[in-house]
């Protein structure tokens, strides 16, 4: 098991109703697995099969990035800075 700290920003925070969560995952889980779990919990995400961009420990990674214990995971909705 690995424990991951999940951060929700912007539209994802509005949808989930929280800014952070601690989640436990089977060893070898990746970011896409977490996204699938979120989709089953929040029907507003149902049509989003692919996760948005993924950041682990404040760096962009691919959706298949394997999560490790203590990682900070954030799904990055479409950015709109500038």
């Amino acid at each position: 098991m690995v424990r991951v700290r999940l951060l929700y920003f912007a539209v994802l925070r509005d949808i989930t109703g929280s800014a952070t969560a601690e989640i436990d995952l089977p060893n070898g889980s990746n970011a896409a697995d977490v996204w699938d779990r979120l989709r089953t919990q929040h029907r507003e995400l149902g049509s989003y099969r692919q996760p948005p961009m993924v950041a682990v420990n404040e760096e962009y990674v691919g959706p298949n990035h394997i999560l490790r214990d203590g990682d900070e995971l954030a799904f990055i909705p479409p950015v709109a800075g500038g």
């Binding site: 950041a55 404040e58 954030a74 990055i76 909705p77 479409p78 950015v79 709109a80 800075g81 500038g82």
Partner: protein, 136 residues
Amino acid sequence: MTYLTDEPIDRDALIRSVMRGSDGACALFEGLVRNHHQGKSVESILYEAYRPMAEKEIARVVAEVCAASPDVAIAIQHRLGLLKVGEASIVIACSSPHRAEAFDACRMVIDRIKETVPIWKKERGPDGEEWVGWQK
């Protein structure tokens, strides 16, 4: 340096911070809250960031552009929080001995910031509010 601020951006201070005696040109870009977007009226925009990562990503953009244009000095401030129409969300100042590099750097910086930096905006208007870029 921190690139994110919760206060109105001090344009003059930003320009002063990049100006060296060897510079013949300064290009500046300001992103402004405008009163419409995709046909909808806008009254204000709430900017939010994944702060530590946004700082890193902006620093990465600066490093990349400086590597491509070593003569350019770059300063950036991105504002967060609730901004009204006409207020600046971002100011980018690029100084250089010659103008072509300053313009190119300024444009490259804003283009890349818009692509990668984890900042979001929620537009508010008479029709309600909406996170930009997220289709319902």
